[in-house]
């Protein structure tokens, strides 16, 4: 094993242990706190990739919007109507930014900056904002665990399968490594992960009823979503000329690199079951 792979494995396992420890042994408050922290870092990385971090007011406001949205939605996620405040708040931030810099020029950038900041605020909320509401529900912890395993196993399987037998490229301009074979392998990996989780649940949480059929259907639907999340983040990085989103977990890149697969999965999970 090369030194690089060693670091990768070592830190991968530590991060996983930490997350699972918080999920299974921490209380809801700790889960919420972790999500808030993760979301804040995700926003930070997003602004670094897109260059939004040069806009002081937008940068600060974004942290608060993301935090407030997740905090206020920690029981039931906020509705679309409430989320429209994000559009207003980010726009206000853009206005103040340009107003205080130079009102006479720099209009060309403003629209793109606003679009970026709106999406940038939604992005961490998608990834982290639905975890606490799900954990709060009975059996929710197990479903969050399932979501994580399905995504990460799928990710790893897609990588492994893609490297061995991958021929047909998925979208080489965005992500040269991803292949259609890999994608299929990913879905299969997710199914295996779901089946394994089922036996784990049976053994350790016999009192919580989670039918196998539900698990497999969820895995089948969630796996392609995870890959779309992956692809979306690749697109984001590629079109902004970044390689990694950050360097939070040595060998794994930033939090967005690691959690991109979750982008649509927990939202979906929440809607599906609760």
């Amino acid at each position: 094993m090369s030194q690089e792979t060693k670091t990768r494995v070592l830190f991968g396992f530590s991060a996983a242990a930490l997350v699972l420890g918080i999920l299974f042994f921490g209380n809801t408050q700790l889960v919420l706190l972790t999500c808030l922290l993760g979301a804040s870092i995700a926003w930070h990385e997003f602004t670094q990739i897109t260059g939004l971090n040069r806009l002081k007011v937008v940068y600060s406001t974004g942290h608060l919007i993301v935090g407030a949205t997740i905090f206020l939605g920690s029981k039931t996620p906020l509705s679309l109507a409430s989320l429209s405040w994000i559009c207003l708040a980010t726009f206000l931030a853009i206005v103040i930014e340009h107003w205080s810099a130079d009102r006479n020029k720099s209009v060309d950038q403003a629209w793109n900056q606003w679009l970026l900041s709106v999406f940038g605020c939604f992005y961490p909320v998608f990834i982290f904002g639905f975890i606490t509401p799900i954990v709060r529900m009975s059996g929710g912890t197990l479903w969050v665990f399932l979501g994580l395993t399905v995504v990460f196993f799928g990710d790893t399987a897609a990588y492994a399968v893609g490297r061995r037998i991958g021929k047909r490229k998925l979208w080489p301009a965005v992500s040269p490594g991803k292949t259609i074979e890999g994608a299929v392998g990913g879905v299969l990996g997710s199914l295996v992960a779901a089946a394994l989780s089922y036996f784990l649940f049976q053994k350790f949480f016999p009192s919580v009823e989670v039918p196998l059929a539900k698990l497999l259907i969820f895995a089948l639907l969630a796996a392609p979503m995870a890959q779309m999340g992956d692809l979306l983040e690749s697109l984001l990085k590629r079109s902004n000329g970044a390689k990694d989103s950050g360097a939070l977990i040595p060998g794994h890149g930033g939090i967005l690199d690691r959690c991109d697969g979750l982008t649509f999965v927990f939202v979906f999970l929440y809607q599906l079951f609760f």
Binding site: Q29, K56, V57, S60, T61, L64, S74, A93
Partner: protein, 577 residues
Amino acid sequence: MDYIIGFLVLLCVLVFIHEFGHFYVAKLCGMKVEVFSIGMGLKLLKFKKGETEYALSLFPLGGYVKILGQDPREEVAKHEEHRSFKNKATWQKAAVVLAGPIANLVLAFFVLAFVYMKGAPTTAPVFSRVVEGSPAALAGFQNGDWVESIQTPNANIEIKELSQLQDVLDENLSKSLTFTLKRGDENSTITYTPTSLLQRHPKLGVMEERGTIDGVEYFAPAASVTTRVRSWADQQSLPYPFQITQIQYTAKNATQATTLEIENFYDFESGWSKAISEQSRESGQIVLKGYPIVDTPDGQEASPAEEQEHNIAWNHVGNAPASNVNDSGFVSTEMYLFKIVEGSPAAKAGLKTGDILQSVNGEAMTSFVLFKRRIQELASKGETIHLEWLRNGELLKSDVNTRVVEVEDEITKVDSKQFQIGAAFLALKAPPPLTMIKASSLGQAAQLGWHKTSDLVRTMLTSFYHLLVGNISINTLGGPITIAKVSGDSFTRGLVPFLQMMAFISLNLFILNLFPIPVLDGGHLVLFAVESILRRPVSIKALEIWTTTGVVFLLMIMGVALFNDIDRMGLFQIFKS
């Protein structure tokens, strides 16, 4: 107008004290204070004395002290560098920053001590009601017992007010306590072990395990009455249900009429007996003053209409009333069904308006609080609920279902599940008795003042904690309009309430300003801490982001608070109907 004056006076005093704290310590540390301003923005009034300019500015929501070298980007002349904020020791900078909030704390302490010198009205530690047959009644507690002291396993605590009594109960769950009670002119002692009950905290509104004496209520039932069918009272032409406020009668051999003020149902019981027994059985007359209770159009609450006078008279022994309220046919409205929601479990069980509930699963019911508690207990265990009630003198019975209703808490705005049968009772409460806490010496005033100060700080910290972890909704935050309203309101109610409000808001400022939020004093302290750990000043860029985040955060919170304020004024209501 009084409102505005009250608010402005309060604001100016608090801002002045806060800024004076900064100012004074800055001077002590040899810093050059350039501006001392009450209010922010445009300076309305200003004069210069020595090196400092004193100003009164347009926006009264705060103030500031401008010290030389406060802004790290500021250019400071060579000869003044030793007087610049930037160049002072970290502990001195921290002291200047801390002095503002501390000044608010000190002010609150002095104001509260002064309040206790003058005497502060508060709710008396009285068991206004002890429900018949309850554990408390069996232990020997009686209506109107005034708790003077409680002997806990550790100490003998003198009880001055109701909140203190509740604190002692909360802190001594399942411990044997000995209560010294004043009952009329006598003293008696009763030993009792309070049980714990999940109850709503009266100020914070969150659910907590609280010490309870099962059957003791701090409110007496109001003197609102209805009648038993075909009783003496039923034959009088009173508009029942009727809330009695006064009894007037002329005693035998007396020339002057006697007037008895009636505050609760027990007053009515004793007053009635007195009025009957002091008149002859052959003929007599009683004037009952009070309000007929009417249903208000928006439902929910029954509200008194115009005060009325009703004459009841008798002219021979045959139609004289009994000297006992109950025997005369008066019944407290507490268990009187005022309203039945259509289609509700109560309606399906056959309950109707005007029925009087008698028992739940065989337990006689006289208290609404107890009734509610029993329904929750039984329904949450999934047991059947069997009710008995009176209609036109006839005892009816039926099982009743419950339905689960999401109830939004008034204080915390948090929804909770409650079992209801869908019936509204006319359980009106009489106001609790008041008492006065007055210090006998300066030392005692200081002691009482300090107690109250630390008590308030503790309550505020707990409520902030609950706000932070989401037990209390942010819809409860009040903004400037709420502060203006409550402070203006207290100003019109007299000096003591106004001073209490001032102390309360001052303590709020003390705590709020110490929050580690950039721009606020607490944020500066965090910055100093970070700088002394890093052993170098924080970079200008990091500082800018830190401050911007603080400003945006405060603006957001202010926005929410202001929104809540407007919501409370009912302005948004017009859109909702």
